[in-house]
Symmetry: C2
Subunit: 305 residues, 2 copies
């Protein structure tokens, strides 16, 4: 049986630095975080962007994990090369294979701590359930979004994004660092328990299922001409109902939410999403029954069956 | 008599975008801000950095206004070129001369709205007094700091920096935009009053005088190994006394303030100052008497005597 290895990634976006800093401290002080004997590899996702102090060099690395570009080790696009390199180095069939990837992000939105899963893979949902059961974190299920694809963790058999905010880009913040550390420790502990069959899954999990994203108000030339209303700013995870304030224009006009259906908005005013034409995303909060197939999938993966 | 022109600058740091956005909206809707008949020029300080989404390209533009580099229109350093260009275009002796420069900044520190003046120029102190008298904003007097020089506004006969936070880099925020707008309107109104000799100066002003800056904790290799303590984060303008918490290390160690003297800290954990080795700056709060010479200097400048 091969040994389980967990890939821990920080700085997939070069200006999200709290995780990078935590990894550096952990390397200096190996006992800083109890890895419960789980073998980990800690890497900076986008070291060039980190050096430049930007999110990315040519393209968002966390949209660059696409099957069609995975032979791109000679691409002129740095992130295409880097995505291929990471899969070659640490992918399931890579030189130093990892079975689980955890990708640590921060956001300028007031998301608190949350997990993001992409699609409905059994092992992802099992691992997310374990963490939610320990820490109560919301789970954002990102799916059915043709415009946003190519996420890092999708290239590993099991993977989660940890998303923590609000914090400015390129800013270290004590609260964010400690939240990152807590989740990392909990992940290590839970994976250890799966390894030892000492695991307890909840019967239900709460999922925030992605429905769609909406753009900022734009003028006829496509320029931003409004911003997130002060009553919507920092109200991530709080229900949005018909008539609620969405955006404000300096002309004095308030743009309201006009749909009949209500949603739970997330990633409200994430600085890096302006260029993606996303002012916020809408989700539906759902209570799901835990499936035994999820459990089995995670156990099989951890035990390398 | 030449006409008074006020240079309004936003985006001197390319990732401080709220002022840029406000200017754009103002250009689209000329009545958005009442300029009280004062002639203004609105420019983006560092348009290349704005495009790149970074603070600067080669060097901090707001440290590049140095006499020795002002013939550098052919420099390979973008910011040296840009500083020379701005002075040639809009300086007192430039093609389109401006007498007053107002430079709009944002910070990741919890500074609220404040004014920064550099050195003790009469006209600067007079204009800052008028604004403090209207809005109660704190004034940070930056002086006697050999490591930080070459500020944009120093190249104009009168100039202030408006600094507003907290807001992340490259993030639009409704509160920051409205605070910027209010100060801009108040500046226009007060300059208009000086022009019409309808001005009322306070007898006193409160100054936060720069004393020194302190660095983050570093390890023996010079790497950051601690961050701002959660009890110090966001406590700008609040007195720091002996024994108070300053920094925290993940080892569990708290680094406290050990001097006998107390200070008022500002720019606590400004993301862009990490590379300048500044974790925060210390000031002394002082009550100054208003001097008639300040008043006369501003009146003479506005009336182009």
């Amino acid at each position: 049986m091969k040994q389980l290895q967990v890939l821990l990634v920080a700085g997939t976006h070069g200006n999200e630095i709290n995780g990078i800093w935590l990894f550096d401290e952990w390397k200096k002080s190996p006992f800083l975080i109890n890895s419960h004997g789980i073998q980990t590899l800690k890497i900076i996702g986008n070291p060039e962007a980190k050096k430049a102090g930007t999110r990315y060099i040519h393209n968002d690395l966390n949209r660059s994990f696409k099957r069609e570009t995975f032979s791109s080790l000679n691409s002129s696009n740095y992130e295409e090369r880097r995505a291929s390199e990471l899969v070659n180095l640490y992918g399931e069939a890579g030189e130093n294979p990892c079975q689980i990837a955890i990708d640590f992000h921060t956001t300028t939105a007031s998301m608190g701590s949350c997990l993001v899963v992409y699609g409905r893979r059994d092992a992802d949902l099992a691992l997310a359930s374990l963490i939610q059961n320990q820490l109560g974190l919301p789970i954002y299920l990102h799916e059915s979004d043709q415009k946003q694809t190519g996420f890092l963790v999708e290239s590993w058999p099991c993977g989660l994004v940890v998303e923590i905010g609000p914090v400015g880009q390129s800013l270290l913040n004590s609260r964010i660092i400690l939240q990152t550390k807590l989740i990392l420790e909990t992940l290590m502990e839970q994976i250890h328990k799966v390894k030892n069959f000492n695991l307890f899954f909840p019967e239900k999990l709460v999922i925030h299922r992605h429905i769609k994203s909406i753009d900022y108000p734009k003028d006829k030339d496509g320029n931003l001409d409004g911003y997130v209303h002060s009553l919507r700013q920092s109200k991530d995870w709080q229900e949005l109902k018909k008539g609620d304030e969405l955006f404000y224009k300096l002309s004095g006009e308030t743009i309201r939410f006009e749909e009949q259906e209500s949603y739970i908005p997330v990633f409200i005013n994430e600085a890096a999403y302006v260029e993606k034409n996303i002012a916020m995303s809408f989700t539906k909060r759902e209570l799901w029954n835990f499936k035994q197939s999820w459990r089995q999938s995670l156990i099989d993966l951890v035990h390398q069956k």
